[in-house]
């Protein structure tokens, strides 16, 4: 471990230091990657939403964004590939007072973990899902993802992606999410605001954060580095709050529509469960299961 230089000067501290594991720095993300910005927005939102960090569990899967849980000073769980939402479901159902956040990437949440995503939305498990979408599997070196735009290149789509991508907000809304927003990591204040709102919401909330991958996605597609991608966002993002999520497909280097699309009320899983349980206890609800007979 490095020794801290002794100095009388006041050390500058990172404004988010109380929410970050400074002893884990430097992080592994590449220069011009957007994940760090998404983390900054999230930590700022946590403060803005005035949530006691001791009550928050953050769950990540595998991949570049999967490392987020390990850099944030909360109860951090770095789980198996695709399973953070299922893991988080266990936490939330067994311990309803915990504030649960799933912070993971598009490959983790939409491909291998896609089933858990739609089912947690259907159940309306009270959790915030932050999906950092960089259009590619970056940790493994740039393979095609279920979010890669049609015709975009990746190492496993060397002739251009042949499959249409998921429209994440549309999938989230149709599966039952109560809050759905999309921003790029350029829109750091708007992203922070959405995360703050989503943290205060009860139910399954999804915030998609489109992030540059300056190392793999932009290189193989000749898009410059992360900064060039930020410039692209600047010139090509259109903010349309309340836009029908059907219209949010992302093409290769086409316009990206951002905004808050869904903000609605549905009873959460825990709310329904508690209601149901109180009926069981007051004998207003009977079991149809008849297992075992007493001798």
């Amino acid at each position: 471990m490095m020794e801290t230089p002794k100095t009388d000067e006041k050390q500058e501290i990172h404004p988010m230091e109380n929410l970050l594991r400074m002893d884990r720095m430097p992080h592994i993300w590449c220069p011009t990657c957007g994940i760090g910005l998404a983390v900054t927005a999230f930590t700022a939102a946590l403060e803005k939403a005035n949530i006691d960090p001791n009550t928050v569990s953050i769950v990540s899967g595998i991949g570049c964004t999967g490392r987020v849980a390990g850099y944030v000073k909360l109860d951090s769980f770095h789980t198996t590939h695709g399973r953070p939402i299922a893991f988080a479901t266990g936490i939330k159902v067994a311990s309803p007072k915990t504030k649960v956040v799933v912070f993971s990437g598009d490959g983790d949440l939409m491909a291998i973990g896609g089933n858990h995503f739609i089912h947690a939305a259907r159940r309306n498990i009270d959790m915030l899902v932050v999906c950092v979408n960089n259009f590619i599997y970056a940790m493994t070196g740039g393979q095609v993802a279920p979010t890669t735009p049609l015709a975009a290149y990746a190492t496993t789509s060397p002739y251009g992606c042949v499959e249409p991508p998921f429209n994440i907000p549309y999938l989230a809304e149709s599966s039952g999410a109560v809050y759905v927003a999309r921003w790029t990591t350029l829109h750091i204040r708007r992203l922070t605001n959405s995360l703050t709102e989503a943290l205060q919401k009860t139910g399954f909330s999804v915030v998609e954060a489109i992030s540059p991958c300056g190392m793999y996605y932009s290189r193989i597609n000749r898009l410059g580095d992360g900064l060039d991608m930020m410039r692209f966002y600047h010139d090509n993002v259109e903010i349309r709050h309340g836009e029908d999520t059907k219209n949010l497909d992302i093409g290769f280097q086409t316009k990206i529509i951002c905004g808050k699309f869904v903000d609605r009320e549905r009873p959460s899983y825990n709310e329904r469960y508690n209601q149901w349980l109180s009926e069981v206890k007051t004998a207003g609800r009977h079991s149809k299961g008849q297992k075992g007979s007493k001798k």
Partner: protein, 413 residues
């Protein structure tokens, strides 16, 4: 600690093994069960869905087995005792997260009602062919504990024991039952709560800043923690140091990875449970577990009627394997006879420990049924008559195999 009376459905029941295991979980203080329906384990999950809400346990039927096991690991880290229930294909799907649970040193119980495999196999009938999977199924080095009950009463009793072992050794516990025991209906006595001993979670109680989630106590098992206590846990499936922080150098991999196997291997005398009978002067010892040990009782009886000196060793816990005991018996007996409902799994560990000192006879069974006790008796007789030391495994030709492969295919003998 005594069981919480809320979960203990004291009484005398006539129920099947699946249901008994479900009631055992509730008695042990299980508060969260996630599962996915799969034959022949479904009745255990149904029993919990029916009784759980009445006794303060939450259940959720997940979208798949991957979700079920992930959810119980999450729930365990939020502070409760948990279980999942599965069989065959579901067990295969859970393997990755069994290793994840072992890596995170997460206490939980997995009830596997084994059925005929591979793949879909014979879903409604029995098998014991997941035994090696329960030991080596997930990638990487780890050790687990596997228990094989042989009756509905044992399904109740050993489910409680499984929960206790999980807390004691902070690791996943496999209850390796099978369709036959799961669907066997017998008398089950559920005692009063104050007669049931349960192991509480060994939670860390010191100052938050000093907590190291993977710092071992003298018994090599670290104190457990839960989310929400301000400990700022960092829990990862990556190889990690005592803080939980990822490490990747060979030195660290050895330093921190080794304990996952050592905490079971070095504590195995306290973990292993065997039932041994008549082995002292035995020429032949029948080594069995689960339903096969019950079938073997008749086979042993038949052999004894012929005057053969037979002893039995029943592996109540199959993993960790009782190496020393088996080696010691190999010095005394002429042969081991191992009936299991597979084409040879646990028998290889018996052979390893016999080390050429005693012959080892496998009585195989392809599944979808149990052994004919006459086969076990004949195998014992054959082993008793054999005076030569025979290298390698001896495979006994059962009546079923003969009828299928030699005497022409017949449904019934």
């Amino acid at each position: 600690m005594k069981a919480d009376p809320r979960g203990v459905l004291t009484g005398v029941y006539y129920i099947d093994g699946d249901v008994a295991a479900g009631y055992g979980a509730l008695a042990a203080g299980c508060k969260f069960v996630a599962g996915y329906p799969i034959t022949p384990s479904t009745e255990a999950f149904e029993a919990i869905c029916h009784r759980g809400p009445q006794v303060g346990a939450v259940f959720i039927q997940m979208e798949d087995e991957l979700g079920s096991i992930s959810a119980i690991i999450g729930a365990t880290w939020s502070g409760v005792k948990t279980m999942t229930i599965t069989s065959g294909p579901g067990y295969s799907l859970m393997q990755e997260c069994i290793g994840f649970g072992a890596m995170l040193e997460t206490p939980f119980v997995l009830l596997n009602i084994q059925r005929g495999g591979p793949s879909t196999g014979v879903p409604t009938k029995t098998g014991q062919a997941d035994m090696m999977q329960s030991r080596w199924g997930s990638h990487g080095d780890y050790e687990l504990i596997a228990i094989a009950p042989e009756s509905p009463q044992e399904m109740f009793d050993y489910t409680i024991k499984a929960f206790n072992l999980a807390e004691k050794y902070r690791c996943p516990i496999m209850i390796m039952s099978d369709e036959c025991v799961g669907h066997m209906t017998e008398k089950v006595v559920i005692p009063e709560a104050d007669k049931i001993e349960v192991e509480p979670r060994r939670l860390y109680t010191g100052p938050a800043e000093d907590y190291l989630p993977f710092k071992p106590e003298p018994d090599l098992v670290p104190k457990m923690a839960k989310a929400g206590d301000g400990l700022k846990l960092y829990i990862t499936g990556q190889t990690h140091d005592e803080r939980g922080y990822p490490v990747k150098d060979a030195e660290y991999k050895s330093k921190y990875g080794r304990r996952l196997v050592d905490k079971i291997r070095l504590n195995k005398d306290k973990i292993i449970e065997l039932k041994e009978e008549g082995t002292d002067n035995a020429d032949v010892i029948v080594v069995s577990y689960g339903i096969s040990s019950r079938v073997a009782i008749k086979g042993v009886e038949l052999a004894r009627e012929k005057g053969i000196k037979v002893g039995t060793l029943r592996l109540v816990t199959v993993w960790p394997f009782p190496d020393e005991k088996m080696s010691e018996l190999a010095k005394k007996a002429k042969a081991f006879v191992v009936p299991e409902i597979n084409y040879g799994q646990v028998v290889y560990d018996v052979a390893r420990c016999a080390h050429g000192r005693a012959n080892v006879v496998l009585v195989p069974h392809g599944g979808a049924g149990v052994h004919n006790p006459n086969d076990i008796a004949d195998a014992i007789e054959m082993a008793a008559k054999e005076d030569k030391k025979i290298e390698g495994l001896i495979e006994f030709k059962t009546r079923l195999e003969k009828s299928v492969f030699e005497g022409g295919f017949k449904l019934k003998e």
